[in-house]
Amino acid sequence: MPSVRTIRDWWWRVRHREAAERELDEELQFHVDMHAEQGRRLGLGTAEARRRALVALGGRERFKEEMRDERGGRWLEDAGRDLRLGLRALRRAPGYAAAAVASLALGIGAATAVFTLAYAVLLKPLPYPRADRLVAVGHAAPGFGVERGGLSDGTYLHYRAHSRTLADLGAYLDRVLNLTGGDEPELVDAALVTPNLFGVLGARPLLGRVFSDAADGPGAPPTVVLSHALWVRRYGADPRIVGRTIEINRLPREVVGVMPPDFHFPGPRTQLWFAFPVEPASSAGLRNLYLTGVGRLRAGVEPSEAAAELQHLAATLPYADAAPERLAQGGVQARVVPLRKEMTRDVRPALVLILGTTAFVLLVAWANVANLALVRAERRRREVAMARALGAATRHVARRALAEAALVAAAGGVIGLAVARVGAGLRFGFSAGELPRLHELRVDGVVLAVAVGLTLASALVLTAVTLAAGHGAGYSLLRGTGRATAGREARWTQRLLVALQVALSLTLLIGATVMARSYRQLRAAELGFDPTRVLAFDLELPFRPYPTYRASAAFYADVLARIRELPGVVDAEAADLLPLTTLPEVQLVAVATEDAAPGSTASETALGLATPGYFAAMRIPLLAGRGFERADLAAAEPGVMVSAAFARAHVGGTTAAVGRRLRIGERRAQWFRIVGVVGDVPGATIAAGARRAVYLPVLSDPPVDSAQAARLPLWPGAETIVVRTTVPPGRIVPAVRRAVHAVDAKVPIARVRTLERVVDGALARARLVAWLLAAAAGTTLLLGVIGIYGVLSYAVSLRTSEFGLRIALGTPPAAVGRMVLRQGVAVTLVGIVAGAGAALALTRLLRGLLYQVSPHDPAAFAAMPALLLAVALVACWMPARRAARADPAAALRAE
């Protein structure tokens, strides 16, 4: 380590470099003068004395160099000089500099940006202490139609009491709650959490306290913890909020704490938390796995060990409905996975894919820069050879190359990082709900380190290529004709790099085409309804003023009647089974049809309500039977409508369905009769396909009496109002709000949206992946073409006189052109074959993201190589033409 003194010394040297040089000269001059003086004293003539003194001194510059070397801080001075020289050299080659910097900026920028995203979402530890020990706990029960379920009351209590691998186990449940007691009622996303959950996470409050088993167990007074955002927005960051009582779903609750701004659990939109103590259960409730478990592993325990333990515990569940044969029937499996993984499970494949693509772009960018550097190095061979002949040591040459590479890489890195920062600022176009953990997205130390690492790696790649190309540039270059021909090795390296670029860009092109076709399929997919100019919003009726079917139905009838009278409104209807909506667990039921074998049920059927005009308003066609009628609920067997998908799956098709009977829910005796079949609409996502749905009517005239209502599995409560308009739907929102509040001012309006936006949102992820792949593929194609063109142009420029000679000796110019073309095409073909192979592997990875497109889509695999070949031909054509035009006379004169 240099001491402080040395560093100060270096600094001084660098600052006073010129003064130091002057001193050096003066000191040597003094020496020579003294020597000459001595000579004169010994009787030599002045001139002779001086000559001898100078001879004695020897090669003055050489040992001045040595003196400089002995002086400290030499390398710093040299680095400065090398950088200055590098800058000058780059300024003399603006084309090379621009192309290299742009390639690296593109590669580093893309890689850093995507890494920023992937790191925040997938890799960064969750913001809790010892977050690596947090696990999601739940079950899979394929036998009951549950792929990824949580915990039931019974399993939660049993596991929490007996697990030795888990330090503690909490659980939560997402809910939408109605905040009342202010000017404007509002629906907020909330989580019902077991009192110990904050403790499991290790989260601390900003104000007041979090829940605890002691204070918030069963029977304790109702309490609530607020999010920072809600506290600031609705309560003006009131520091005395703790202890105050607020009204939620029209019931008073005491605020006991406020969480800090960076606490978002389970999601960024969660605004408040209820204590939800799980009370001793009477059954394991293996089908009612409604709680999401969050556990903290004991030190040194792996998730798989915890899963094994819970699996073992499941066999000892002390409930009648959890007998071994029942567990076996449901195929019940305990699931314990790291919480971070579980939270990002849905987006992981897409993000990993994008990350991989970016690596491709970076590789192609490097290949391109390497190629540019090779061409440049070839041009500078003579310069380097000259420098060496004049005594430059290998390390000097290497240092110069490194300095130049560092400049190029640094410029690329800075621009790339700027690109990544802008991208992170815009959250890469995602909105809060689309990606988990998006609020944690920022360019932090880790991202910075990655960008710097990529920049350093780029500089090293560039230096290595330059040196490898310059290696062996011997003195021979200085002799003879002075023609610098490309080394055989360098030319092979160039071709290899071009083939690599072609291969990588073909891989991406095919991947992008397959994704784009999948996206087009999604877009063109039969939606089954018309989303144009439809406004939708949610209402949630509290139970207290609307305790009966009749009261709720009357409320909705009144609201809809008022909205229908507004100018610009065509239709207004209510339903709770909208397309492209994730349904709450309670709306997924088992349905038994009349002649189904006992025990076999149509599980996971979506059950919802709709006003009679809903289907017409949504433009969902009636395929068979009739729509709802006034008397449908008064009938002994109330009328229901089903979707075509349900009819096909369970009652023998659309026409056969009408008139058939079905039972809804387990162990329910009431029969319902199918009166009509409507067209299919997609479920939670377009790719998920049509929903198997059973619709119950919302009827208010004649009023449904309590005996009739008691037979129904579902009453109107939380409904979505859809309003079809002739004007832009956003314009009627204030009028609609007034209409709702004219009926009941305490009912909040939530999630106002247009169905067009909903459809857009459903396509967002597919669109994003398709776009990113297309952008990456386009970039690599462009870089690849530049690579082909650059290498061929350079090859031609070196062989111009050879081509001239050939033409002079009788080869037709066209044949010379064809020769060059062949060379380019051969390299491209090698790349295409390799790329097609790699694309097969890539598209297989894409399989999970594709919709109605084969991963081996023949169109993509045929069209893209053809496109690439065509583009490569164009890139080859110009150098080929130049070769064909080589002037034979000039060539002869030169030889």
Binding site: R5, E23, E27, F30, H31, D33, E70, R71, G72
Partner: protein
């Protein structure tokens, strides 16, 4: 650093450095004066090459054994004078001891060979 040089037994360089330090032991002196002094003291046997002397002076300066300053000579010319530091004195003592041990050892070997 200096220790390593000595241990390496780099006779030429180590010796020159030691001789320079010795030449500066009595009074500060410029480069030319150091050449002269070493020549005189060695009765013209040791010819100090300027090409080695000045880099050696820079090296000793960097190692902190000598300091330099510009002064005026008796003939009224500006010259760079070098002066021994405390560390330089210690180094001289150490190198001298090392040298004596080394030359004694060499002599011993030579005599035995006879």
């Amino acid at each position: 650093m200096a220790d390593r040089d000595v241990e390496r037994g780099d006779l030429l360089q180590g010796t020159l450095d030691m001789l320079v330090l010795k030449a500066l032991q009595l009074a500060p002196m410029h480069g030319w004066g150091i050449t002269e002094r070493i020549q005189q003291w060695s009765r013209q046997v040791l010819q100090v090459n300027q090409g080695s002397l000045y880099p050696a002076l820079r090296r000793l300066e960097r190692q902190g054994y000598i300091t330099a300053e510009w002064r005026v000579t008796e003939n009224n010319r500006r010259a760079r004078y070098y002066q021994l530091t405390a560390a330089g004195r210690r180094q001289l003592t150490a190198e001298r001891a090392h040298w004596e041990r080394l030359s004694a050892a060499v002599n011993l070997v030579l005599r035995t060979a006879e």
